[in-house]
Structures are given as C-alpha cells and as structure tokens.
C-alpha cells in the first residue's frame, strides 16, 4: 500500500496539540500554584514552551491543507467540492495567526521562567501572573481557532456564519504583500533577530566545543534571553512573510528543510541550555556534549542555508 505523507497529514496529526497540550500545560501550572510545587511548575513550563514550538508547524501546514482542499483550485470563488467553506478556512487562518502570536509570547515567558529557575533556583514573582493572564487569553484564542478548524470539514457541527468580509490572516497578508515598505521592514527585523539569536548561540556552542575558554559560562548564560528574544522576533516576522504569500512556501522544499532544521536545532538548544553539565566552569565538556554542540551549530548554519536557498531551490519570490 502506497503512503504519501504530505503536509496535510502533518496538519491533521498536529492540530490537536496546541489546544489539548496547552490545556495540560496551563492546568499543571494552576495545580503547581495551588500545591506550591516547584517540580510541577517546572513541568508545566516545559509543556508550555514545547506546545508553543509545535504551534509553528501546525500553523504552517494549515495553509498546505487548505491548498489541498480548496484554495489552489480556485483563488476567489467557492471550494470545488461544494461542502468545504472558503470563508471558514479564512476565519480559521485568521484566528490561528493570532493564536500563534500569543503562543509565541506565552512560550517566551514560560522559557524565561525556566531560565530564571535554573539561574536563581526560583521563578520571579511577576512571571506567574503574566503567564497566567497570557495563558488564559491564549487558551481562549487557540480554542476559537480549533473550533473554526473543526467546522471546515464537519458541516454537522457548523455554527459559524459565512461572511464576505476579509479575515485577519488575509488583511495582514495583503498588507505585507501590497505595501511597499512592509516586506523590507520585516526582512530587516528578521535579520536583526537572527543576529541576536545566532550571535549568542554560536558563542555558547563555541564555548562548549572548547574554542572560547576564557569567556565564562555565567556571562554567556546571561546573554541567553537576548537569543530567545531574537528567536521570538524571527518567528513573528517569519509568520508575516508566510501570511503574505503562503502558497509560495507550502510547495517549497527548501522551506520545509528550513522549518525542520529550526525545530530540531531549537529543541537541541533548549535541551542544551537546561542541561547543567554545560555550565561547569573550568571543566571541559564531555566528548558527547561537544559532538552535540557541533551538530546543533551545523543545524543553525543549515537554517540560514535553507533560508537563503528559498528562491533558488524552491523557486520562492
């Protein structure tokens, strides 16, 4: 039996994670606050960071799925099968774009909590209410996106009215692609974010490999939030590019390689920076840790390579 695994399959696989995973993460966070348990709190923050990362491919593969069932065959009229609603697809896309932005911000604060916990042995008092407030808001927004997504292929549960109004995703996308200064601005900010992120991460990985013996781990560790801020800026500006021209990316092989490299490099970097073994000052890292640092560095360079190759291998732009 032939099995062709497409981005649509990936969307169907991933699309429950942002809602259900976020409920689990936020639920654990509430339990941790009530039970005053640091262990549960750390677990909940890890879940919230993980779910915010998973939301990125969930959003992206959504456009590939919509191309499969509706958009590609007809760019303006109703979907060809007569059942699928173009209006619902665009409402779902708009809600998902807002949800993704909130997920990234909430995940950023959850990461900051983890970093503070590792650095000081405690999460800052102000971080709890911020995560709680953002978490409730994000859950409401992502639940709406999920409900709209479910209605696309299930007319039996459909309650949302069709509308001819342009939806948020298309408003943002058209603004980026039709306004002369927006793409250039987002591109400039994308490179500023890239500079902060890879500048810091490269120094850390060089230190672990053994190239920067005189720079202390403490100094590099203190720079880590700048790298995560850079990653957040890159995710948000990257999503603006994607919203502006999703169908030049969803068929672009270089884009999927870039996304895959980002996800693996991101997860390895998170594992890395929360592994206490890399912060033992004065002791060389183990061979395994240094090899892992080399792989992570290769993957981040690969992210830049695939980003540069978008127009050449994947014929984007």
């Amino acid at each position: 039996m032939a099995f062709d695994f497409t981005p649509t399959h990936l969307h169907l696989l991933l699309n429950h994670f942002p809602t259900i995973g976020f409920i689990i993460g936020l639920g654990l966070f509430v339990i941790a606050l009530i039970a005053r348990s640091d262990h549960i709190k750390i677990g909940s923050l890890v879940v919230l960071v993980g779910i915010s990362i998973i939301t990125i491919p969930t959003y992206i593969t959504g456009n590939a799925a919509s191309q499969e069932i509706c958009i590609a065959s007809n760019l303006t009229g109703p979907c060809p099968d007569g059942v699928t609603s173009r209006s619902l697809i665009e409402q779902h896309e708009g809600a998902a774009l807002i949800a993704l932005a909130f997920m990234v911000i909430t995940g950023g604060f959850a990461w900051l909590g983890l970093w503070q916990w590792r650095r000081f042995g405690a999460v800052s008092g102000w971080n709890h209410p911020v995560i709680m407030m953002l978490g409730v808001l994000t859950l409401a927004i992502v639940s709406r996106a999920a409900a709209l997504g479910g209605e696309i292929r299930h007319p039996e549960i459909r309650v949302t009215a069709e509308t001819a109004n342009k939806q948020f995703g298309r408003v943002v996308g058209d603004f980026i692609s039709n306004t002369p200064w927006t793409w250039i601005t987002a591109e400039t900010l994308h490179f500023i974010g890239l500079t902060f992120m890879l500048g810091v991460l490269t120094l850390i990985l060089f230190k672990v490999i053994g190239i920067l013996p005189t720079v202390t781990y403490d100094a590099l560790d203190r720079l880590l939030p700048w790298a995560i801020l850079g990653f957040g800026l890159n995710t948000l500006t990257g999503m603006l590019f994607f919203a502006a021209a999703p169908y030049q990316y969803v068929d672009n092989v270089a884009f999927y390689y870039k996304l895959g490299f980002i996800l693996v490099a991101g997860v390895l970097t998170l594992l890395y920076t929360f592994d206490p073994s890399w912060t033992r000052e004065g002791q060389p890292a183990s061979g395994r840790t240094r090899a892992l640092a080399g792989v992570t560095l290769f993957l981040w360079v690969g992210v830049m390579f695939w980003g540069s190759m978008l127009p050449f291998i994947g014929n984007a732009f």
Partner: protein, 47 residues
C-alpha cells in the same frame, strides 16, 4: 534616477528605518529589563 523616483525611494527608506528603529528600541528595552533581572542577588555575607 530622476528626482521623483529618488524622492519615492528616500520616503520608502525613511519609513523602513523609522519602523525598524521603533521595533528595535522596544526589543532592546525588553532585553535590558530582562538583563537587569539577571543580576544574581547579592547575599548578605558577600557585602
């Protein structure tokens, strides 16, 4: 390059630079606040 085209390009570049500057300043303010909170607390015996 005629003067009209030159003006358009300068206006475009100015707008790009302004928006980039505003976002970058916000980015740096957030980063600075986080960085200040990254000071390890001084224990009384270290004073």
């Amino acid at each position: 390059m005629d003067s009209a085209t030159g003006f358009t390009e300068i206006a475009l570049a100015t707008r790009v630079l302004l928006v980039v500057a505003v976002v970058t300043v916000l980015f740096v303010i957030v980063g600075y606040v986080i960085d200040r909170s990254a000071e390890r607390p001084t224990r009384s015996k270290d004073r």
